[in-house]
């Protein structure tokens, strides 16, 4: 159980810090590779769901005896890895998505749906978000795949939102939405699409980075 929690925490906070030693430790305590892969996939997916919840500011609007958890905006953001810390995108992963049936296909279908549509956000706007998220998680493969964002007020607002979604989702709120609206996203559905697309991209990049990192020597 401790190994599951360890893998979950590192995948969630600093996936590039995973290393071959973590995979060896998982194997040593009897975790099949398929289970370790599932830990990475579920951690990344629930990171998406929690970010969506943070992004839309779900609140209780009635009195309750039991106080819900309180998001503290002054909590420091997660650390953004410098490029030398990024896992090698060309290294052969120590864990392949293929070791869990259907995982690669499902993930590819979701990624295509999230990044290749033209509405509510345009496809190039989705690419801006994906690039920004990838940069913040050390996902060299996606940064290489996509072009650097163009300079425009909307692109800047999308990058800023992606930054917040990726590194400090507890800060998401009315100010985030106001910045997106001021930059031209006036439709609520488009605003939600921007935030949810960023959250989805954290899943794609987190998985990419974690699996690449598990093949590398562990980092401190």
């Amino acid at each position: 159980m401790r190994t599951l929690v360890h893998l979950t925490c590192i995948t969630t906070t600093a996936p590039w810090k995973l290393g071959a030693a973590d995979l060896a430790r998982a194997r040593a305590v009897g975790l099949p590779d398929e289970t370790t892969l599932q830990v990475v996939l579920l951690s990344a997916y629930f990171g998406h769901l929690n970010r969506v919840a943070d992004a839309v500011g779900i609140e209780l609007d009635y009195p309750t005896d039991l106080t819900p958890p309180h998001a503290e905006p002054t909590t420091p953001p997660y650390r953004r890895p410098a490029p030398p810390e990024w896992p090698d995108a060309d290294a052969r992963p120590a864990l392949e998505l293929a070791c869990r049936s259907g995982a690669a296909e499902s993930l590819a279908a979701w990624r295509a749906h999230a990044l290749l549509r033209e509405a509510p956000l345009a496809r190039d706007q989705r690419a801006v978000i994906a690039y920004a998220v990838a940069e913040r998680l050390g996902d060299a493969a996606t940064v290489r795949e996509l072009a650097a964002p163009p300079s425009s007020p909307l692109a800047a607002a999308l990058v800023e939102a992606a930054d917040e979604v990726t590194l400090a989702p507890w800060r998401l709120g009315a100010a985030t939405i106001a910045r997106l609206r001021a930059a031209g996203l006036t439709d609520d559905v488009a605003v939600f699409d921007a935030l949810a697309t960023a959250a989805a991209c954290t899943t794609f990049s987190r998985i990419q980075v974690a699996l690449a990192a598990l093949a590398a020597p562990s980092r401190v």
Binding site: H48, L49, A55, I58, L66, H113, R117, D188
Partner: protein
């Protein structure tokens, strides 16, 4: 919350033939006797005090009408459903949809004594028709259908975690 690997999966998600999720059940151990947990489960009108989104619950015989509220950054919605109550005291209680939204909702608590009656194994089970909530579809699922895979596990976990907190609350 105490989870033990030997107790099996914490959350089980049910899928339709096409792979879409239709419901989920979550299990947990509550360090309270069954009678204490049952007292909270059976007092349906007090669900509003510990179950998120439940604004009010009004019981008339074996029928309960729930008023729910949900507010997010963009909008606020209110909706209600009526459910038939069936139960076997200190074992299980089920609420099954008869009218309103979300359609076809079914919520169930199952209790099993553990450790000679000192603790209770609880399963919370929830399902409903996701497509019956127009606002949920419009804002969330139409463009980000992957979210539906998190809704039912969330509902099931909220059921048992809320119950755990309520049974720990001296005023609960």
């Amino acid at each position: 919350m105490d989870f033990r690997a030997e107790d099996g999966p914490i959350v089980r998600v049910r899928l339709a033939a096409d792979g879409r999720p239709t419901g989920a059940a979550a299990s947990a151990r509550i360090e309270r006797p069954v009678a204490r947990v049952w007292a909270v489960v059976a007092d349906i009108e007090r669900y509003a005090r510990f179950l998120p989104m439940v604004h009010r619950a009004r019981r008339q015989g074996d029928s309960v009408t729930f008023e729910l509220r949900f507010r997010i950054g963009f909008f606020s919605v209110g909706f209600q459903f009526t459910a038939a109550v069936t139960y076997e005291a200190e074992k299980w209680l089920e609420l099954r949809w008869t009218a309103g939204e979300p359609r076809d909702i079914r919520l169930r608590f199952s209790l099993t004594p553990a450790d000679g009656g000192r603790a209770c194994l609880v399963e919370g089970d929830g399902q409903f028709d996701l497509q019956s909530l127009g606002w949920l579809v419009k804002y969330f699922l139409k463009h980000h259908p992957e979210i539906q895979h998190g809704i039912f596990p969330g509902v099931a976990l909220v059921l048992i975690d809320s119950l755990r907190r309520a049974t720990a609350d001296p005023a609960g």
